[in-house]
């Protein structure tokens, strides 16, 4: 049986040292490196002591999935193969996790949607699988371009959902994500999302931990449910499908089961705050206008704030790092003094604005937008323009017939 603590300081077959994760992430020296987001995913996985990665090609995550294949060839991943479809991949991930493996996969857009049935199953079965979601358009007509609409569908699956802004977030959160999702009181899958292409296909300076350090291995015997160990005695306690019975007890148990999944989401709050240093990050929350955003909309918001500062307009910023568990109290506190809350999003429905409206008092302060979608960029000028309009200031037209 694995004992996580007993292996700290020992080496794996690649000569990496199993390292206390807190020390590795917070105290070990970092090397600045110029990488694409996809390459960063590979570098994080190199250090993640991952047992199984299952891949299926779909843009924009295909490159990351292929790069992790190289890691397997180098011997850093226990097993690696391609599934028959996204649905098959997510089912195979479940099988590997049921068996006690640390599991990783990547998906995007229509792939996320095709595999959707698996995600509440993962949560209900308490499988701490990590899934990278490199968001892209999901609807017909086909688009491979960045669009965050699929995140809205993940929010009620019982998975932990984090939204990375940068490649640096990605590197750190992949490794920290396992520490949160594998806690026995949490033990839930993590959807670690980013905006496809903007993060995956652009290069950025990322500070990497040493390649000779890696996470301690996953210990399935700390799981809140029995793993499928066919050798050890608590083996025959599979999760029976009590929902196949039609009676009050079955219904009540299933209700209690669902509550327990969401209780585990709540319990992740404490661990996530510890590892990510809070569910949100804030700047200038005493300002009259606050931009609240997640993903790369945060970067565009920052640039808009800089543009407005040049005109003497001061704005605050809330970067929402974690969507599940939802940082309701933090957002209420950060926006309590704001007259206007501007929520720029890369999707057509404005799911983040809806979440915020449901969280704060006086929700008519929320300006749901600007929105772009289908792969459009969001120039910071349109955020700045929207803010100036809210403040009753004249703003030049940013779109029109060119007259």
């Amino acid at each position: 049986m694995a004992d996580t603590h007993s292996v700290i300081g020992t080496k794996n077959k690649k000569g990496q040292t199993f390292t206390d994760t807190w020390k590795m992430m917070n105290e070990a020296p970092r090397t600045p490196s110029f990488y694409t987001g996809s390459e960063v995913i590979k570098e994080a996985l190199r250090r993640a002591s991952c047992d199984v990665m299952i891949a299926y090609p779909i843009t924009p995550q295909s490159e990351a999935a292929a790069l992790i294949g190289e890691l397997f060839a180098e011997g850093y991943i226990g097993d690696y193969f391609r599934g028959e479809s996204e649905f098959a991949v997510m089912s195979q991930c479940a099988g590997a996790a049921f068996g006690g493996a640390r599991v990783f996969t990547t998906t995007a857009g229509p792939g996320t949607m095709r595999a959707m049935e698996n995600f509440p199953m993962w949560s209900g079965a308490r499988l701490p699988i990590q899934m990278i979601v490199t968001c892209r358009g999901i609807n017909s007509p086909l688009s491979i371009q960045p669009d965050t609409l699929e995140i809205a569908y993940l929010l009620n699956t019982g998975m932990l959902v984090w939204h990375a802004e940068t490649a640096q977030d990605f590197f750190d959160w992949i490794l920290k994500g396992y520490m949160v999702s594998e806690e026995p009181d949490v033990h839930l899958p993590l959807a670690l999302c980013c905006d496809g292409f903007f993060v995956t296909h652009t290069k950025d300076v990322v500070n990497l931990t040493p390649t000779d350090m890696c996470l301690p291995p996953y210990d399935p015997y700390r799981s809140p449910v029995p793993c499928m160990d066919m050798e050890c005695p608590p083996v025959r306690m599979m999760r029976d499908p009590f929902i196949m019975k039609s009676n009050y007890i079955s219904y009540a148990t299933h209700a209690s089961w669902q509550q327990e999944v969401w209780a585990a989401v709540e319990r992740s709050r404490k661990h996530t705050i510890k590892w990510l240093n809070g569910l949100i990050e804030t700047e200038n929350t005493d300002a009259e206008v606050i931009i609240v955003a997640s993903g790369t909309a945060v970067s565009q918001g920052r640039e808009a704030i800089r543009l407005l500062e040049d005109e003497g307009i001061r704005c605050g910023l809330v970067k929402v790092k974690v969507l599940r568990p939802w940082p309701g109290e933090e957002i209420r506190e950060a926006t309590k003094n704001a007259k206007h809350i501007v929520v720029p999003e890369f999707n057509v429905t404005g799911w983040l604005a809806k979440e915020i409206k449901a969280t704060i008092p006086d929700s008519d302060r929320v300006n749901a937008g600007p929105h772009v979608c289908g792969g459009m960029t969001m120039p910071p000028e349109i955020i700045a323009s929207e803010i100036k309009t809210l403040l009753g200031m004249r703003t030049m037209s940013l779109a029109g017939r060119g007259s």
């Binding site: 009181d185 700390r222 079955s250 089961w257």
Partner: protein, 211 residues
């Protein structure tokens, strides 16, 4: 800060999970009583008092301690047997300690035998049948323990204790965390020390599907 407290039921047709009501799990060295974080020492006293007050104090050992699948499990099982024997020695006439296993997690159809086992899908049946008014879960996988604890809180007035080997259970009225042989033995010692100082309840657990 939440005002919610984890108290004996019957609480509701479908009681909320304590975590959703803002109850947090204790850190190492701590426990919780009714959802309030306390030093672990205080929890030993309270758990022992609850056992000694109960008409039918009961231990529910789960699969993790029912088989000698590793050395630690075997030693824990011995300690649990010691705790049970201590309860029997320390209670007064009219009190009936019980030791009822949760051998697995599959729902028992068509009907469980509540005199010999408890099941996480319908734990209230065993509580009701045996009129159990105080129980302790130990060696039950955390997910199944939480299912049970919520259902018990929803439909019975039983006082629930969790001796959890991991992070604890906020759905119990009292929870230890990081359970070890030493902690089980310390609880037995506390029961022994408080013998004769606690007045037993005269009535047994109320039953009822909801309030």
């Amino acid at each position: 800060m939440t005002q919610y407290r984890v108290l004996p039921g019957p609480e509701h047709f479908l009681p909320p999970s304590a975590a959703s009501m803002g109850i947090c799990l204790p850190n190492p060295g701590e426990a919780h009583i009714n959802g309030v974080i306390v030093p672990e020492e205080k929890a030993y006293e309270e758990a022992a008092k609850q056992f000694l007050m109960a008409k039918v104090p009961t231990l529910f050992p789960g699969p993790l301690v029912l088989w000698a699948w590793n050395e630690k499990a075997a030693r824990k099982a011995t300690a649990i047997r010691h705790l049970y024997n201590t309860l029997k020695e320390c209670v007064q006439p009219g009190q009936t300690p019980m030791l009822i296993p949760m051998p697995d997690y599959r729902p028992k159809y068509p009907k469980i035998n509540p005199e010999v086992e408890i099941n996480p899908n319908h734990p209230n049946l065993t509580i009701w049948h045996n009129k159990i008014d105080c129980c302790m879960f130990i060696g039950v996988h955390c997910h199944q323990a939480n299912l049970s604890l919520k259902i018990i809180r929803g439909g019975t007035s039983c006082y629930t204790i969790a001796m959890c080997a991991q992070a604890g259970h906020e759905d119990a009225m009292l929870s230890f965390r990081d359970a070890s042989v030493e902690k089980i033995m310390k609880l037995a010692d506390t029961v022994k020390r408080l013998k004769g100082t606690v007045k037993p309840r005269l009535t047994s657990a109320k039953s009822g599907a909801s309030n």
